[in-house]
Amino acid sequence: MAAFVIRRILATIPVLGMVAVIVFLILRLTPGDPATLLAGDNATLAQIEEIRRHLGLDRSIVVQFVSWIGHLLRGDFGESFFFKMPVAALIADRIQPTLSLALMTLIFTIVIAVPMGVIAANRRGTWVDHAVMTFSVGGFSIPVFVLGYLLIYVFAIRLNWFPVQGFKSFDAGIRPFLSHLLLPSLTLSVVYIALVARIARASVIEVLNEDYIRTAYSKGLTNRVVLTQHALRNAAIPIVTVIGMGVALLIGGAVVIESVYNIPGLGRLTVDAVLSRDYPTIQAMVLLFSFIYVMINMLVDLSYAVLDPRIRY
């Protein structure tokens, strides 16, 4: 058990290392002189030279990488070209909206998607199942920004139930906080729900075909007990796994949805950085989001030990 936990934690190191290498190389492997590219079309030679020195491009690539990693490990993400302040400080400023959005979306998803999938699996082939699957394929297909604008138009502009855009910090009171967050979270959770409900359904159906389900029925248990005590618990691992993998969708969606709803979070920061070619910020954001993604999936893997005793023994 302890060995499993340590092994899983250590396993994130090569992955994160590879992410760092990739993020580092994206800039260096770009054709042409990165400094010229970053400086833009109207830059003076001096500005290009400044960027070159800033990135350490005059040194060998290995030295650059080592010094970059060294800074990263000390929490130094560099200085933003555009905002002219440390990237770490930028992140600290912007983290609350994104975190709130992500948590709310996650809650919506789990509360809605898992029961949806289980019910669909239990009522396989009925209209309930078809409805869930239709929602699922629809949720996959509608682009998150189109859905965002659609919901804004209907619920905020036409019906006036919610504020149109923007974000209110938690300090401003729970009501404004929630009313600003509800619509974006719902928007973001649609694709996530589609994904999780579909996998939950497929996993439960697969488990329902197992021999031990037949054993459970032959004990005289009711359908509900077999479904919750035996099927769902055995299907938990793929469901939790897909919730973890769906965090990639969540992150990608946040980048888009914060632009749609005008939320000053990390996703918005990423887009602004891209549009202004603020490379240190882009690098930091990719690293940060990947780090979060890897960590969440590590936690998911660790939860296997709780969900499945076979891993403990």
Partner: protein
Amino acid sequence: MLDVTTNPESKAQRAQQDEPILTIEGLSVALPRGADRPFAVENLDLEIHRKETVCIVGESGSGKSVTAHTVMGLIGATQLKPVAGRIMFDGADLLQMPPDRLRALRCVGLSMIFQEPMTALNPIMTCGAQIDEVLRWHTDLNATARHVAIVRMLEEVNLPDPERIMAAIPQQLSGGQRQRVLIAMALILHPALLIADEPTTALDVTTQAQILRLLKNIQQNRGMGMLFITHDFGVVADIADHVIVMQHGRVVEAGRAEDVLLRPQHAYTQALIRAVPNPKPKSRVERQDAPVVLATSDLGKTYATRPLFGAPRKITAMHGVSLEVRRGETLGIIGESGSGKTTFARSVSRLIEPSSGAIMFEGTNIGSLNGEALRPYRRQIQIVFQDPYRSLNPRRKIGDSIVEGPVNYGIGRVEAIDRARQLMTFVSLNPEALDRYPHQFSGGQRQRICIARALAMEPTLLIADEAVSALDVSVQAQVLELLNRVRREFDLAMLFITHDLRVAAQVCDRVAVMSKGEVVECDSAQAIFQRPQHAYTRSLLDAIPARHWTFGEM
């Protein structure tokens, strides 16, 4: 089995006592439209009394398992539908019973155990909790009383250390132990009837013998009725009071066990019984003068797992195996699962590399050869695998599969196809079928095709790795006959890997018995079967179901 009595006074009382626990009358179960026949089970009658074991025996597709599942009410979710007949249990028709009453009856009135103990237990619940579920659901006992009952039940099924078993998850137990847990679960509430659907088929022969003995004991002690589904006439002979033989969903013969086994009336029953291999080997001429084709010395295979923490673990799959086979001779390798017999076969055929020892093939050590150096020897050593459904590439015509090898070694395609046609005839298949795909053939036919593919290489050594184990008994007999013919006409050496001692007796000249990766005894087949020296060999022989029945000689 109506009781005929002349004493009128006790008749009523007797009738009361001997009233059947279960009566099935005219049961028909319909298959979904588009199946190869309209009914999975057609017009089946049977009766089971207290202390009585009724065996339904038949080959795959006979409808025996469907019958068992129908009685238990477990076919609701499938496309099968009972369309006629009654299943009377305790005065009520199970087919008409509302679902909640049927549920209340399960494990209380009638219980069922299944074929695959490895998958029949919930993998993430402890065994104790799984048995406890039955008690919590059907009784009002408190936790302590339930615990006591479970411990007592686990002792009744001869599981040592019940507390440990209760705390264990299924993965920590062997197949035999898991089947005992399932039996305990099924019987803890003393049901009047146990339905056992091939409960020992997936188990090793020694474990099978123990489980059969256990079931028989409990049944006698409790006076329980048992409906036992099997394909194995050996098991039938061991356990049945009454036998029902099914074929294609219909009962072809029914009667008392001795009658059916000794004096089968129906041609199908006769053929089935004749096909059961006789565990007495025929006497064979020893081939001392023939050249040695294969000689292994001290062959071993270890797998190393290297965890990140802790010492690397070594698993020895095979150790110190020294055997030889001569031209024209069949050497049987017998062992239970995990004995290392398949590791030996795969090492000799060089699908894996042995970790130690030598494989001398016609004087060359091929154990350490690789790549191109190995290629000339590959063609001389051919292997036939267990699973006929996965041994042929489903996307290629069988003709292409058969000529693949010869073409690899430079034989012209036309010539190779010509040869393939001859081989098809030799294995009793139509040569015109060469341009068909594997899915157009049955399991037995596919195994013939695999044999033809191996023979196309004109091998010196043919390895049959459990080659008849997946086949029904009547098909098995035909393929065994074919293998005997191959050995005679092609004058090759054969390694015959099997877990089935009856089968080994039929084809082997000499037999090596393997256990835990080592050869414990190697001798002529006659000596092994009649004068076994090693205790393990003796226990294997004793475990053969109905050992002293000589089915094959009828």
